[in-house]
């Protein structure tokens, strides 16, 4: 999955031209300080952004089918 020129904006966060390549299998760690936009970014990718490109149509179909079933793990604040 490839994200190109994504735009994330709310009251605190202004992210422009976000380009991320998730096409390699593996673990991607999105990290940053509090309020930097980690959750907003992943929510934008999973639920709002519709221009993600996939290597195979099967992947796009699987992504759209499971879009409402993504796992959300809420953990207590560390430190």
């Amino acid at each position: 999955m490839k994200i190109k020129n994504m735009f994330v904006q709310n009251k605190q966060i202004h992210l422009k031209d976000v380009n991320i390549d998730f096409s390699n299998i593996g673990i991607y760690l999105i990290k940053g300080a509090n309020g930097s936009g980690k959750t907003s970014l992943i929510e934008e990718i999973l639920f709002k952004y519709n221009d993600a490109t996939f290597s195979y149509e099967k992947q796009l179909w699987s992504f759209q089918k499971k879009q409402t079933k993504f796992i959300h793990l809420y953990t207590s604040k560390f430190g």
């Binding site: 390699n24 299998i25 593996g26 673990i27 999105i30 990290k31 940053g32």
Partner: protein, 146 residues
């Protein structure tokens, strides 16, 4: 999460990441590793730093689409001394099997003594004995030993 749960979680996602893409949103430093692709968001900054330092890169989403590289597979046999020992033992077993097979073949053949000069035919068997003996006697008139 406590440290034990974090270690279990890391083991779980490592197992899953062999065939899946996993995106983790966290600021827990216990999950920091150079083996992951780190996407760092900086506050008051619109730049996202993608450190693509994933050592186990697979370029295509589905593993069954990848072709097996037999050259790399063969070279990998010599990277580890255990693999080298396994190869050596396998070759030794093949060699012993071939020697054993050769011995079996040798034992299967006739070990009769070489006949003397005045004997022109040596044979074993019972079915055509009479016909062969009669033919030899008729044509050559020589003694034929059983």
């Amino acid at each position: 999460m406590d440290d034990h749960s974090v270690s279990q979680f890391i083991d779980l996602i490592k197992e899953l990441s062999r065939s899946k893409t996993i995106i983790i949103v966290t600021h827990d430093p216990r999950l920091d590793s150079d083996n992951y692709t780190n996407i760092i968001l900086k506050r008051n900054d619109v730049i996202i730093n993608c450190n693509t330092i994933n050592k186990n890169k697979i370029n295509v989403g589905y593993q069954d689409k990848n072709k097996t590289n037999f050259i790399k597979l063969g070279v990998g046999l010599f990277k580890n001394y255990i693999n080298f020992i396994t190869l050596f033992v396998t070759l030794a077993v093949i060699l012993m099997l071939s020697i054993y097979t050769q011995l079996q073949f040798k034992n299967g053949f006739s070990t009769d003594e070489i006949p003397p000069e005045n004997v022109i035919l040596s044979y074993k068997g019972e079915f055509y004995i009479d016909r062969v003996v009669d033919a030899c006697r008729a044509v050559c008139g020589l003694f034929v030993r059983n």
